[in-house]
Amino acid sequence: MNWGSAAEFFAMGGYGLYVWGSYAVALLLMVAEPLLVVRRRRRALRDARLAEVFVTDDAN
């Protein structure tokens, strides 16, 4: 175990800003990207559904 306390862990030997700044941005992007992709697929399926309605209407 490297750390005596939680404060020591967050301080990262004085490099907290650099270490946590790296991991925080990585986490942010790697959470945001999958969410955007999920939204994109939902929208694609919804658009496909709407397009289908128009096609059916034209046929009638």
């Binding site: 175990m1 490297n2 750390w3 862990f9 990262m12 030997g13 004085g14 490099y15 800003l17 650099y18 270490v19 700044g21 790296s22 991991y23 941005v25 990585a26 992007l29 790697m30 990207e33 999958p34 992709v37 999920v38 994109r40 697929r41 939902r42 694609a44 399926l45 919804r46 658009d47 496909a48 559904r49 397009a51 289908e52 096609v55």
Partner: protein
Amino acid sequence: MNATGLRFFTFAAPSRFYTLAGWLVPVFWAVAIGFTLAGLYIGFFIAPTDATQGDSYRIIFIHVPTAWMSMLLYLVMAFWAVIGWAFNARMASILARAIAPTGAMFTFLALWTGALWGKPTWGTWWVWDARLTSELILLFLYLGYIALAEAIDDPKRADQASALLAAVGVINVPIIYYSVVWWNTLHQGATISLTAAPKMASTMLTAMLLMTVACWAYAFAVVFSRARAMAVERDRHAAWVHTLAVRTGQGGAA
């Protein structure tokens, strides 16, 4: 799709890819999350503090995996773009374009974490040395590829034009990789070499490799998810999308 075609090409049909990728994505997510937790645990709690760099070196566990992925994904993207172009394989072109945003994201992270590591160790966020500059060019190649593909309305022409850009840009990847050998750079040499013993403690190496597998699985999960969305967008009027859209509209699984 020719019904008599070899089974090898079965998943080249967007409809079949959609189903297969749907099964694989949760598996890749499980691998990504599991390996991230294991890698970070070893990286922060088991691996010792570095004698010369102190705890700032712990950025390596995210910096090196993202930098590796940025280069690997470019090669994979260019490969599928060219396959899609040469064989008129739609799913290959979709895959290439699905890789680009994730590749750009990893490139940005490699640059960002590198800047945050450079400040405490080199005393500067950025220098115009060969390694950093060629990695920045990689980011511009990804962004240029995305912009070019998005600017052309006809999907087929967009795939072809962007494939050409992707193929030409491949030359930059060996330049990034060997930049620390060819030029006198501030950036250190390769962390891992296939021909020499690792220069780092085995726990540090283990954490870095676990994080690399995690980033690799993450890339698969996100790229396959995006490729599924793109397949639906492009085949909007196809029967398989119609069936799928109706099913999901009724609250079924996508």
